[in-house]
């Protein structure tokens, strides 16, 4: 019982990171129907920006988080303008290959500049172990930080999407691009904005991972990127609550599976669940089924 509780805490922490990355995937997919494979690498760059800011400028955790988010959102806008905009009307498969090209470019340019070695992230958050429930489980303060920051960012996102004018415009573009344009929505601005928000969340996830696991390397984005994408699909791609749900669900399943002896099959379990969910409910666990019209 104690172990389950302990693993659930770890699962929620891992899940919040997946959820933060998955949000970016799902928003971009919702708005331009593109699987943005470069998203995992934006998260990697976020981790490196956090590393540089804390190690070389000596700043604390919160400034590092904010600077990283800002840098990533600029990078996200830049990627969209340079790489995806010219291909907006091209076939899906070429857009996908472009996304992969951007991903490779980010990975290997980073590798060229920062060298492929793993680096140790500075300890910017003190790690205090608090025993809860009468010593049955240990709660690391880092866990609390990660979960709190994730929740705050998600609430903020929810506010922007549901309560502000630009959020309304985003939802309009996701629903029907042409009609939104006819109603006077500046599509290019909204798409840039979506990329900015999604990338900022990925940047935040990067810093949180750096703080939590202490190590970063230029290829760290690939696997969490794929997993976060799986999470987004599990919850129903294009849906913000779906991405959050999928992220936490996947994080917990993975930690529980590795806790109970299946750690070698951890990755297979994630993709196995994905295939089963896709077969039973292709629109995702929270998604609505859309009837196909001729």
């Amino acid at each position: 019982m104690e172990q389950v509780l302990q693993q659930l805490i770890n699962g929620i922490s891992l899940g919040s990171i997946y959820a933060l990355i998955a949000l970016g995937y799902t928003m971009v997919y919702g708005i331009i129907n593109l699987i943005n494979f470069a998203h995992g690498d934006i998260y990697m760059i976020g981790a490196y920006v956090g590393y540089a800011v804390t190690r070389f400028l000596g700043l604390g955790f919160v400034p590092a988080l904010l600077i990283s988010m800002a840098t990533c959102s600029i990078l996200g806008i830049l990627i969209e303008k340079v790489a995806y905009k010219p291909l907006r009307n091209a076939s899906r498969i070429s857009a996908l290959i472009t996304a992969i090209a951007v991903s490779l470019f980010l990975q290997y340019t980073m590798m060229y500049f920062v060298k492929p070695d793993t680096r140790t992230f500075p300890d910017v958050l003190s790690s205090n172990k608090i025993s809860i429930l009468g010593g049955k489980a240990l709660l690391d303060t880092k866990n609390i930080y990660i979960i709190l920051i994730t929740i705050v960012l998600m609430l903020l996102l929810q506010y922007v999407v549901l309560k502000t004018k630009i959020g309304k415009a985003m939802r309009a573009v996701a629903l029907d691009k042409d009609v939104a344009q006819l109603m006077g929505v500046d599509i290019n601005r909204i798409i840039s904005f979506t990329f900015a928000i999604g990338s900022a969340l990925a940047g935040a996830a990067g810093v949180l991972v750096g703080v939590y696991y202490n190590t970063i390397n230029p290829l760290m984005g690939t696997v969490p990127g794929l997993k976060a994408f799986v999470a987004a699909v599990l919850g129903g791609i294009g849906l913000i609550p779906g991405a959050v749900f999928g992220g936490f669900f996947l994080g917990m399943v993975e930690t529980l599976v590795s806790a109970y002896g299946g750690s070698i099959f951890k990755d297979a379990v994630a993709f196995g669940i994905l295939i089963i969910v896709l077969l039973i409910k292709p629109s995702g666990l929270l998604g609505k089924t859309v009837k196909e019209k001729v």
């Binding site: 076939s91 899906r92 070429s94 290997y108 993709f271």
Partner: protein, 322 residues
């Protein structure tokens, strides 16, 4: 009519002369083992790209798990030749059959999905195959499978590439191939015209997987050594890149794509640190300025029966671009 037959004979003679020429050059040592290695890689890439093109380019089913079929073929062949000392031809064919059966088993449930969802499901399938291979000690696990006898040579590669292209080409010109193309153009319309869409999608998947399996077998029996990570997600992407680079729905495109991308990476080997950076930039430039691939839909002129195709409708990649 006479003209067409003559051209076919001419093509056969040219191909045969090319085979003999390269064979002689290899035997006299003018093409050294380094260039021979690259010839083998190009050949394997052609088989992989043409077989994926059948699934993605002609049937319109977006697959990101092609490397998984290659890995199944490679491991089947490795087990048969290294552990059971079976002849290579048997291993080659059985690799194809095993991959093909896997293709049918994974195809029947997943091919109900469309577009991106199918891509994700096949991606998941590829990762599952890789993780299982890593955790199976019988085939060496993560360390890899060692001491596979080398059987693959220029003759095997040349013959396999030729057979693959010819069979897939013939298949596409048959009743069944046209049904596959109809599914790509419009699945609902094809279904209402009486095309059994599930059957043809699974058929295309099985044939594509078969040739990917034989490519895996050729790969395993050339490099002595295979490991699960060689057949990961990035390998599937590499194959897809060749297909898109050459032109979706063009067999000649896949051939040219495989050759040119292999040559590009050959040149880039001199600068290992910047290799992938330049590769990604090239990929990006091609996608932005020529997003239909270098050949678009152009085909081997020589294989076309002119009369039938004179009023050929310009196909578009409907199923994928939608």
């Amino acid at each position: 009519m006479m003209n067409k037959v003559n051209k076919k004979i001419l093509l056969g003679v040219i191909l045969f002369a090319f085979y003999i020429l390269v064979h002689v050059l290899i035997n006299t040592g003018i093409i050294d083992s380094y260039y021979e290695l690259n010839l083998v890689i190009i050949g394997i890439n052609i088989i992989l790209a043409v077989s994926l093109n059948l699934i993605t380019g002609f049937t319109g089913q977006f697959s990101l798990g092609h490397a998984a079929f290659m890995s199944m073929g490679a491991y089947t062949s490795a087990i048969l030749t290294a552990k059971f000392n079976q002849p290579f031809i048997l291993a080659l064919l059985l690799s194809g059959v095993v991959a093909s059966v896997a293709g049918i088993l994974i195809g029947i449930p997943t091919l109900r999905l469309k577009g991106d969802y199918l891509a994700i499901a096949t991606l998941g399938f590829g990762e599952i195959v890789r993780v299982i291979a890593i955790n199976t000690d019988y085939i060496g696990g993560a360390i890899g499978f060692n001491d596979i006898p080398r059987y693959t040579n220029w003759t095997w590669i040349f013959a396999s590439v030729l057979v693959t292209i010819l069979l897939i080409k013939r298949f596409l010109n048959s009743y069944h191939g046209r049904a596959c193309i109809a599914i790509r153009e419009d699945e609902i319309a094809a279904e209402s015209m009486g095309v059994n869409t599930t059957y043809y999608k699974v058929l295309a998947f099985a044939i594509g997987a078969f040739f990917a399996g034989t490519a895996g077998s050729l790969y395993a029996n050339y490099f002595y050594f295979i490991k699960p990570d060689s057949f990961g997600f990035m390998k599937s992407i590499d194959i897809l890149v060749i297909v898109v680079f050459g032109g979706i729905g063009s067999i000649l495109g896949s051939v040219i794509g495989a050759i040119s991308l292999s040559i590009i990476s050959l040149f880039l080997q001199g600068i290992p640190e910047l290799r992938m950076v330049i590769y990604s930039v090239i990929l990006f430039v091609i996608m932005v300025y020529r997003h239909k691939g270098i050949l678009g839909k152009r085909e081997f002129k020589i294989f076309k029966s002119r009369k039938k195709n004179r009023k050929k409708v310009e196909f578009n990649v409907g199923a994928i671009s939608k």
